[in-house]
Symmetry: C2
Subunit: 211 residues, 2 copies
DNA sequence: ACTTTTGATGAACTATTATTCATAATATGA
DNA sequence: TCATATTATGAATAATAGTTCATCAAAAGT
């Protein structure tokens, strides 16, 4: 019975899978990997423990899947911006600004990603592999963007790697902070300040040598 | 037997306590709270499990003590700089630079602090309380320093809070990165770049309007 | 209507681990 | 030297949690 179109049963199964993932995301993002049991996830998702194991080999695999989805989503939002053909300063501006929407749409995801990614130690290494790779790719692309901007004389001659890491760390820190209790207006105001801060350093001094 | 001077026995007990804390620090900083058992700490410190409980009420308390010591040490290094009577730009310069020595002297501490502090979730809340309070105090003091600098026309009129958080996040990110494998020269070079980056934003534009 | 397949179930199994406590070792002071 | 106090010990305990599997329910196919 190899049908291309998914049957109702198959669709339902997929829904169930998603429900489990959603429940797990809620729990993991607020309590962390080690403080959430499979029992907890079963309760939250209203399935039995055994059912979870029909979908995922292990707790670790379930968590990994979540983290990867999460990293993927962030990647899909940020990477295209850097790949676009905007001028470099606009790329960076947009890159910073889009973090507002990112935070708004995926608070849970962000919490999971930002709170568990940095500490290699708290979560099984294998779980963070893909997420780390994605993060590294983004950093490289951001660094390349800055370098390109410098070559084209759009940006000042700063240390691209340090600036990249600094901007990245700053955005992460703010997005984590904002996820504690999200207020759209506040986040956007802060991002505007971050934009000002970094573009001030990055932009060629033309009109803004004085405040 | 209420003696003021500690006897040899008492001194030895203190040494044992310190040995246990050191062993725990090694393990926690490389594996994280949840991946280290009391058995592990007992093995590493060459004491029996029961002995650990003669010194510390619980695993959590042992961890908390470590984290607090750690936060205290960082605080003792950084706070005096901001409290000194250097001009504000020099305070900030020194604040940044001293992170090199901080990293060099206390890699384990830094790893523990930076890897466990940010994620409120992975470790019992009570354990991070004091460390967080100390961190908050440092941030406030740094922000006040920037504000003072602005008032005195030493620093440009930036958003003090955002700049503070950005600098803080940047330093943390770099110090965590450097703790993976510490190279003094590299760290100092990077800190010099960070200094340049932030002082570029902060300093009044006098001689350096152009590169 | 009956068989088969698929998915759901949760009690039971196993492993891990924080914690305790009766006992042993050692030092102290008389 | 002996009694007492202090510290160290590690097997035993109890609780938690990841995982399995025999069983059940329901839908699909004939």
């Amino acid at each position: 019975m190899v049908n291309v179109a998914p049957t109702r049963k198959e669709r339902e199964k997929l829904v169930h899978r998603t429900e489990i993932l959603q429940a797990a995301l809620n729990l993991f993002s607020s309590k962390g990997f080690h403080n959430v049991s499979m029992q907890d996830i079963a309760m939250e998702s209203e399935f039995a423990v055994g059912t979870l194991y029909n979908f995922f080999q292990s707790k670790e695999q379930l968590f990994t899947e979540l983290l990867n989805d999460c990293a993927e989503k962030i990647y899909q939002t940020l990477f295209p911006i850097l790949q676009s053909n905007l001028p470099e300063n606009e790329k960076i501006r947009t890159y910073i600004r889009v973090h507002g929407k990112l935070a708004e749409d995926n608070i849970e995801f962000i919490k999971l990603y930002v709170s568990e990614y940095s500490t290699l130690t708290t979560v099984p290494r294998t779980a963070t592999e893909k997420a780390e790779k994605i993060k590294a790719e983004l950093l490289i692309e951001l660094e390349n963007t800055i370098k390109a901007g410098i070559r084209k004389n759009i940006l000042r001659c700063v240390d691209a790697r340090i600036t990249t890491q600094s901007l990245s760390a700053t955005l992460q820190s703010f997005i984590l902070e904002s996820s504690k209790d999200f207020e759209k207006a506040k986040v956007e105001k802060e991002l505007a300040e971050i934009e000002k801060l970094f573009l001030d350093v990055l932009l060629m001094p033309e009109k803004h040598t004085n405040v």
